[in-house]
Amino acid sequence: MTRRTALAATAELAAWWAAFGLLWLVLVSTVDALEVLVGASAAAVGAVAARAGRRAVTAR
């Protein structure tokens, strides 16, 4: 993995992570510190799944 692809991968993950973090904030009713922490972890799982899914389909 070259530096360029690593950068692209990080950017893709960060974009998905931000999108799902926002989605989590929309879903919950009250926002506090623990909620944000759990939301960030869930968004990270979602970001990894999104990238893995895209790669599984395109890389053939």
Binding site: L23, L25, V26, L27, S29
Partner: protein, 150 residues
């Protein structure tokens, strides 16, 4: 009983009766279209019911149905692809009517909620519902044409 629940009752009674009639008789293509219609009828009704009972947490039900309903239709479209290839269902009029009804319900419920995060959640549900409905209709019309054995 308030106007929201009345609207939900009428939508459920008329829409699901039509869906049942379509799904239980006729050729496969008609049954598939009716099965897809189920989501488009039940999900707005759940939004109306959540508003009618003043329970914002019931919106989760509509959100889940908006996500999983089209997935159910995709399951049938994918695994019955050989049979669907013979007689392709075409019901874009019905699909756009359902999308219009969904959009109207989402706008009405949003207007009653007022600008807040809850409203954004309703909008997300609406987008997932209408987008899912359109994609499921597309999938029924040869979305899985080349699938054999897989």
């Amino acid at each position: 009983m308030n106007a929201w629940i009345l609207a939900a009752t009428i939508l459920l009674g008329a829409g699901l009766t039509a869906a049942l009639w379509g799904v239980a008789s006729g050729p496969l293509s008609r049954r598939m279209v009716a099965q897809n219609l189920t989501t488009a009828v039940a999900c707005p009704s759940l939004l109306l019911l959540a508003q009618g009972y003043h329970r914002p947490s019931y919106v989760d039900l509509a959100l889940l149905l908006a996500l999983l309903g089209p997935v159910g239709t995709l399951v049938f479209a994918r695994l019955l692809a050989d049979e669907l290839a013979v007689a392709t269902p075409a019901a874009w009029g019905l699909t756009w009517t359902a999308a219009g009804v969904s959009a109207a319900v989402v706008v009405a419920v949003c207007a009653a909620t007022g600008p807040s995060r809850a409203m954004v959640k309703l909008l997300v549900t609406g987008v997932l519902l209408i987008g899912g409905n359109l994609v499921a209709s597309r999938a029924l019309q040869g979305g899985f044409r080349q699938v054999r054995g897989g």
